[in-house]
């Protein structure tokens, strides 16, 4: 067991454990709504039109930037709409989505299989396969995987994050119990792609079955399976690296900067599917849990399936519910169960509706300071965020906050501390954005002034030149005229002389 575990964090027992590790396959839905907006990397560009027939796994939206990954049809059928629809996001802003009406056949496109012989593929080919399979970080962050793999130079360690980021979520646990062979193979593929020397699969010590099943299939001496103490936020990549390797990733840097690559176990399974089976990312495992369902379970659902059709299989009770996408700590509260599952939907919490606890004044107990896993001072951050003094908050390292929610969880006054930090971060982002815009405007204004002045001086110069040329020409003409007049005079004079 590890001794250098990070400071802070909290231990929360799983409130609604899923007893049966079996993954229930949800049949392909009648209608799939696929979001084009990526959490990181902009928006994919649709390459189909309304009315087009598509097959499962077919690319329906292409990439718009290097960070973007393509989107694949998750069912076969007809494109019925390409428009703005509500998505599970705290802002409630609609985003572009593609809707597919199923034809009920679930017919796949022809898959380009690599087979078991991935070692003969070059790392670039594997990275390209990862990109074209549309894989993003499945732990919830949604960072494009191909960027992560290709950004790391001289990787020394590959960390597979199997810690299950938050209490309540069980999807990674069931994934490991059901697909241990695929996960080990996926790790091998990643090892080959990033040419790291070793890989560590990190599992929290409360997942004994998952640990055992991975151990049974691991025959590669480059791969170790490491148990770490169960403590919330141990799944945050920088903290996980600290626990496993006892190195700290400097503030403002990524794990890749110190030669460590960290991937979620779900991502590793998706990489296996993409490289070995040629199967793009069209489904994912979702935990449905909470006080509002009788039968919390893990489901494998196609992307674009509505929350409601998955939740209905977990026997929800008749009470009014509070729905949350993601975990109980870092998830997003949503107001309806009609949203669709996307690549980062690891969990759907269905809780019985309870009134929000009364928010009181901060009593300066500093419990938040003690639980913060990255040693920030949430209390100080709270004062400066609340008064919108963003500069002050930045001095207290606001941008290092991982929004884990430990501080809000322990606050005896029920202050939603993290919400304040999210707010302050958004304001800071706007300020940076505005400053950038102002800089562009200043540059363009100054260039325009310079250009107008330059044009004026050029024009004046040209006019002066023309004037000079004209004057010279006129002087020349005058000379010529004078010469002619002289000659005429001479001739007439000589004529007069002759006459005389």
């Amino acid at each position: 067991m590890l001794s250098n575990i990070f400071r802070g964090g909290i231990h929360i027992p799983n409130p609604y454990p899923v007893k049966n590790p079996k993954i229930v396959k949800v049949p392909p839905p009648e209608k799939a709504v696929l979001i084009l907006q990526q959490k990181v990397g902009g928006q994919a560009k649709p390459c189909v039109e309304v009315g087009d027939k598509v097959l499962t796994g077919q690319v329906i939206a292409g990439t718009s930037s290097q960070y973007c990954v393509p989107i694949h049809a998750s069912i076969s059928g007809t494109i019925s709409a390409i428009d703005k629809q509500p998505i599970p996001h705290p802002s409630g802003i609609d985003a572009m989505c593609i809707t597919i009406e199923s034809d009920g056949k679930d017919k796949w496109v022809e898959k380009e299989e690599c087979g078991a012989d991935f070692l003969s593929c070059k790392p670039e080919q594997i990275i390209d396969k990862i990109r074209s399979a549309g894989i993003v970080g499945m732990g919830g962050a949604g960072f494009p995987t191909h960027i992560k793999v290709s950004s790391v130079k001289n990787a020394n360690t590959l960390v597979v994050n199997a810690t299950e980021c938050e209490p309540g979520i069980m999807c990674d646990d069931s994934l490991m119990q059901n697909y241990p062979r695929e996960i080990i193979r996926g790790t091998e593929i990643l090892l080959h792609a990033c040419s790291a020397k070793k890989a560590i699969i990190a599992i929290e010590d409360d997942k004994q079955e998952a640990f055992n099943s991975l151990l049974m299939y691991n025959h590669n001496d480059k791969i170790t399976i490491q148990r770490i103490p169960t403590k919330y936020t141990s799944g945050a990549d920088k903290l996980l690296i600290k626990s496993l390797l006892d190195v700290e990733v400097p503030a403002g840097k990524h794990p890749s900067d110190i030669g460590v690559l960290c991937h979620n176990v779900g991502t590793v399974k998706a990489i296996h599917d993409a490289v070995i089976d040629g199967r793009p990312l069209v489904s994912r495992i979702v935990t449905v849990t909470g006080s509002g369902v009788e039968d919390p379970k893990n489901y494998e659902a196609r992307l674009g399936t509505s929350f409601a059709s998955v939740v209905s299989q977990s026997k929800p009770n008749k009470q009014k519910h509070k729905i949350r996408m993601g975990g109980m700590m870092m998830g997003v509260d949503v107001n309806s169960d009609q949203y669709s599952i996307c690549k980062i939907t690891n969990c759907i919490f269905i809780n019985n509706f309870e009134p929000e606890p009364q928010v009181n004044e901060c009593i300066r107990c500093s419990s938040c300071n003690q639980v913060c896993p990255i040693n920030l001072l949430p209390q100080q951050l709270y004062w400066s965020s609340k008064s919108e003094s963003i500069d002050k908050a930045l001095e207290y390292n606001l941008d290092n906050c991982i929004e884990c929610g430990c501080c809000s969880y322990v606050c005896p006054s029920n202050i939603p501390l993290v919400d304040y930090f999210v707010f302050a971060k958004a304001v800071n982002k706007k300020q940076i954005n505005d400053a950038e815009r102002a800089d562009i405007a200043r540059q363009r204004f100054e260039y325009r002034e310079f250009r107008i002045e330059r044009n004026m001086s050029e024009r004046a110069e040209m006019m002066a030149k023309k004037k000079k040329a004209l004057k010279e020409k006129m002087a020349k003409e005058k000379q010529q005229k004078d010469k002619i007049a002289d000659a005429i005079q001479r001739v007439s004079k000589s004529k007069e002389n002759k006459d005389a």
Partner: protein
């Protein structure tokens, strides 16, 4: 006595030379205060302050010829920041110069545009793309929302629209957080 005079004269000479060199080497071009003021101004280049742009206004402020409350796009916050920088008292914005509005962007109704290029000439930041007798459009990223193109358009085909928040620029409402 004599040697102390000698030591101090040499010392003075050396230090004088260093100071003289530094004055040439680290000479600051222009008035640094103008740059500081210009940094606070929103760079809308709208001319509502009665100066032909943000920098001319900054120059006038540095000379003490203008008031700090003449910039509506900067808002009250901007005016207060200027007061702090210049060490003068905070005063409310002068409404004669216009009112503070939400950030806007110009949008051309391309069906109506006749390609007269008047807006291209009026735009202080070259945010228009077009040429004579062809359709003109706005580079939204570069438009400052100064509205200088509105009065010059002969067919009234330019509209100012509020910039809508996107998923990337969304800011939660702090009042909702406080009452949660």
């Amino acid at each position: 006595m004599l040697d102390s005079i000698l030591i101090f004269s040499i010392l003075t000479l050396i230090l004088g030379l260093i100071l003289g060199y530094a004055a040439i080497k680290f000479r600051i071009e222009g008035n640094p205060l103008v740059n500081q003021i210009d940094k606070i101004l929103p760079q809308t280049q709208c001319g509502q302050c009665n100066y032909p742009g943000c920098r001319p206004y900054a120059e006038a402020l540095a000379k003490g010829e203008a008031q700090i409350n003449q910039c509506p796009p900067g808002g009250q916050d901007g005016a207060d920041e200027l007061a702090d920088l210049l060490g003068v008292e905070q005063i409310p914005l002068n409404t004669e110069h216009g009112e503070t509005k939400e950030p806007m962007v110009a949008v051309v109704d391309e069906q109506v545009c006749i390609g007269c290029t008047l807006c291209i000439q009026a735009c202080p930041v070259d945010a228009f793309v077009g040429s004579s007798k062809v359709m003109t459009t706005v580079i939204a990223k570069e438009c400052t929302g100064c509205e200088l193109c509105i009065p010059v358009c002969p067919v009234d085909c330019i509209d100012m629209v509020e910039i809508q928040p996107t998923l990337g620029t969304y800011i939660p409402n702090i009042k909702d957080i406080a009452h949660a």
